[in-house]
Amino acid sequence: MGVISTIFGFCGFGVGISSGLVIGYFLFIYFQPTDVKNPEIRPLVERDSETLQQMLPEIPLWVKCPDYDRVDWLNKFLELMWPYLDKAICKTAKNIAKPIIAEQIPKYKIESVEFETLTLGTLPPTFQGMKVYVTDEKELIMEPCLKWAANPNVTIGVKAFGLKATVQVVDLQVFAQPRITLKPLVPAFPCFANIYVSLMEKPHVDFGLKLVGADLMSIPGLYRFVQVANMYLWPKTLEVPILDPSKAYRRPVGILHVKVVKAMNLKKKDLLGASDPYVKLKITEDKLPSKKTTVKHKNLNPEWNEEYNFTVRDPESQAVELAVYDWEQVGKHDKMGMNVVPLKELTPEEPSVKTLDLLKNMDLNDGQNEKSRGQLVVEFIYKPFKEEDLPKSFEESQTVQKAPENTPAGGGLLVVIVHEAQDVEGKHHTNPYARILFRGEERKTKHVKKNRDPRWEEEFQFMLEEPPTNDRLHVEVCSVSSRIGLLHPKETLGYIDINLSDVVSNKRINEKYHLIDSKNGRIQIELQWRTA
């Protein structure tokens, strides 16, 4: 009897527990409100010291550490922008999710999946401090302390087999300390080529995941499984390319040959006799001055047959500007007409002769352009460089390149890059240049006129038979007077001797050195030891 009773008891317990769970579910959980309320925020001044104590662990880093900066202006900015950002993000998310859902649901025999509510809540992410690091490399490092304690309400309704279930995400909290590195820096907007993001510490992620109203995350033990967002934990990084660094440097990609053949039916500009035309040629987005043909005196149908070459950096956006001017002995030369030929209209390697109508200006709506000003005949050939002709594409400053082929065994290439100097000052003049002495060989950078903080960015190479373990590099900053024959023709602004053994063992060293015999002068020198 006892045995049967126990068995019945267990069975009853089994039935009871399931019915109890159902009753309990309806009793306690089902009728819980599913909407998300705005948290009540009481001003800090009204709080008592006990609640303040609880707040202490969350206190912003800028309060605790002097090397963090406060960015409350950014917080305010985000706060004001948040309602708009919220709507925009949700809209985009919905649009992205729709086709994916539509594609996936037939596989799982689900009738429909849709967002019932989707909002990120009223609380924007906040930055509780910002720290930056200044290094000698071409990079910017930022470490914002990001805390996003949100009150989102994301409800997904799933319908299958005539039943409907909802999954709701509430109270999402993400606290992270990402390191954002912008590198390499390039001289074209936005001034950096890549963004690297990596997390310095395990981020704190917490949220409520309600499945049919019951928060799964509050089941003890389950919370631990969520902390898996370690994908980008340092030193792993997430790389976001922004622009191609080789493009930013605007290296030449080809050569454009322009032959100015002739002009026809030019208009008379001079009072006496015919005009004296000449052509000015210029390629856009280039700092070089424009080129000029010879002047053909008293000629309204001049023939020049003169050739010019331009280096092309970006055939997509650059254009050649041709303008015909009337030469004058005295006073300003009159413009007789102009035209512009975009390079993308030219087929590479193919000569094309164009007859251009001369216009007053490039404004399409200007009525004065309808007047005939004559024609100009020009021949173009655009020759892009072959791949092998291209100068070495952008070199990563971080990685040390291999030495060239002909390096002797055991030897290598010593590369000295003189970046910049600061606070160099001469007694009589400050036109600094750097002089490098290595094994009796002397190299010089270009002169920078009247500048205490010159930037040279020049590279010098020394081919060596064996590693320069016991050698020194002597770098001297000198200044030469801009006027000749004065009392102080040359001055030394400071020097430094660098032991090269460290370079051999480290392959690459990039450092700022304090100059000797100088008040505050510093010089930044990068050394590389490239071996085969």
């Binding site: 068995i7 008891g9 009853g12 206190i59 406060r70 950002l85 950096f192 409520g208 509050s218 003890p220």
Partner: protein, 512 residues
């Protein structure tokens, strides 16, 4: 028996489990919400909050200025500067050159950059303030300071003289940049950006001019011409309430809301002035008054000869764009041979006026608007004015806008026809150009006296237009002669030579 008790026990256990779960849910939920509230508060702490949290151990490195400091941004900026400078040079060259052309003073035939490099001193952002002045807009004020060492060489061509390279050295910029972000509900959430320089505090832009391989004296008055050009560009394009509107992100938006447009009309009657200072050696001053809201639209009264208590009773209408920040500027000058002397200046902020209510005011004249510059406390007399501000309704606004456009168009046409040298000069600029030509030849041959007479001869202006203009060309020449630059450098400053300087030294200004 066992079954019933089993079911019973099971139910109790099940319900208890659920209750426990709910308790857990609630506990975690309240904890999270409390934390969210904390984080939110900690994102915008002020001094009192921090005092309460830290008590006596208040960290000494923290301060709460109105403009929040951004040391980290400055560090990054100085590192990034060489690259930004490189990238910006091309952009600046392409965007500023047309502007220079537009504002080019007469007497100069071409004004271009022949070299532009921004130097290697990065600008500094002293502070940033973010506020929301209007729904759907974020206003960001950036306290911007730049004591740079850029090398800017302007290629200046004047009539009869070959191109002269002129270098702008030791540029210093102190200003507050106001950036307004217009928000939108599409990524990237900003539909347009409005950029302007705050007029209060006044932007300060100082620089030194130097002729490369020559002397500034080659073109008379060139230094002042460039100063005025730069100054007009800034006050007329950038200084609040003038602004630059940049639409962003390909969202089609109506930016007309953001653009500056006429808001109202001010009818000003300059009644009289009392107890003016006597500036003349013989007799008394010959005063006239000038009033403007925007420097491009100035109007002036007749000259009353030999009177320190002149009565003008002349009425002008001026357009106001922004009642909150704009002011009426009244100036009284002494008409004189050579340079007109300023007897006093006074400002009447438009915000003091009530719409459609006439107001009569007696304003005390000051030697300068810049309170720091006022040294003497002598009484300079007063000016009595009657002002009526009328706010435009929609139609009036549109017609005013049209009118203004038409007026500027007309000037442009005149300029193109070669009658006047630049848009900066109004209709009577024609006369001044002729004058300036004479003036230049005069100086060229060293006959300075001829210049003065030429100046007097140019008094052919248009009263009817209501827009008295500034023949800056000749006035400059006259000013130049008066000042006699011996070296080839002159220190200029935005504060010491505001647009008024044109008036101040309007030596050969055409006056009715």
């Amino acid at each position: 028996m066992g079954l019933i008790s089993g079911v019973f026990m099971g139910m109790i256990f099940g319900i208890a489990l659920m209750a426990g779960w709910r308790h857990m849910m609630r506990y975690r939920s309240t904890k999270r919400i409390a934390k969210a509230a904390d984080i939110k508060i900690l994102g915008s702490l002020n001094r009192d909050d921090l005092k309460k949290i830290c008590g006596d151990n208040f960290p000494i490195w923290i301060s709460f200025p109105v403009y929040e400091q951004v040391k980290w941004l400055n560090k990054e900026l100085s590192k990034l500067w060489p690259f930004v400078a490189d990238a910006a040079e091309l952009v600046i060259k392409e965007s500023v050159e047309p502007l220079l052309e537009e504002y080019r003073p007469p007497g100069i035939t071409s004004l271009k950059f022949s070299k532009l490099s921004l130097g290697n001193v990065a600008p500094k952002i002293e502070g940033i303030r973010v506020q929301s002045l209007k729904q759907g807009q974020i206003t960001m004020d950036i306290d911007f300071r730049w004591g740079g060492d850029p090398s800017i060489i302007l290629g200046v061509e004047a009539a009869m003289v070959a191109s002269i390279p002129i270098q702008l050295k030791d540029l210093q910029v102190f200003t507050v940049i106001r950036v307004i972000f217009q928000l939108a509900e599409e990524i990237p959430c900003i539909s347009a950006v409005v950029v302007a320089l705050l007029s209060e505090p006044k932007p300060r832009i100082d620089y030194t001019l130097k002729a490369v391989g020559g002397s500034l004296t080659a073109i008379p008055g060139i230094a002042d011409m460039i100063d005025d050009t730069v100054d007009s560009i800034i006050t007329d394009m950038l200084q609040w309430p003038h602004r630059i509107v940049v639409p962003i992100g390909g969202i089609p938006v109506d930016t007309s809301e953001l653009e500056l447009k006429p808001q109202g009309k001010v009818a000003v009657t300059i009644v009289k002035a009392n107890n003016l200072k006597n500036m003349e050696m013989i007799g008394k001053s010959d005063p006239y008054a000038v009033v403007h809201i925007k420097p491009l639209f100035k109007v002036k009264t007749n000259v009353v000869d030999n009177n320190l208590n002149p009565v003008w009773n002349q009425t002008f209408e001026l357009i106001a764009e922004d009642k909150e920040t704009q002011s009426l500027i009244f100036e009284v000058f002494d008409k004189d041979i050579g340079q007109d002397k300023r007897l006093g200046i006074v400002k009447l902020p438009l915000i003091d006026l009530e719409a459609d209510t006439p107001k009569e005011a007696e304003l005390r004249l000051l030697p300068s608007l810049d309170m720091l510059k006022i040294k003497d406390k002598k009484d300079r007399g007063s000016i009595t004015v009657k002002v009526l501000y009328h706010e435009f309704n929609k139609e009036e606004q549109l017609s005013a806008l049209e009118e203004e456009k038409r007026f500027l168009e007309e000037r442009k046409k005149l300029k193109e026809a070669g009658v006047i040298g630049s848009t900066m000069d109004a209709i009577d600029g024609a006369a001044s150009l002729v004058g300036s030509g004479v003036g230049m030849v005069g100086t060229g041959i060293g006959a300075g006296a001829g210049l003065v007479t030429a100046g007097v001869g140019t008094g052919v202006g248009l009263v009817g237009s209501g827009f008295g203009a500034v023949g800056s060309g000749l006035s400059k020449a006259g000013k130049f002669m008066g000042r006699t630059i011996t070296g080839h450098s002159s220190k200029r400053s935005g504060t010491t030579t505001p647009v008024n300087s044109v008036q101040e030294n309007g030596g050969a200004k055409p006056v009715q």
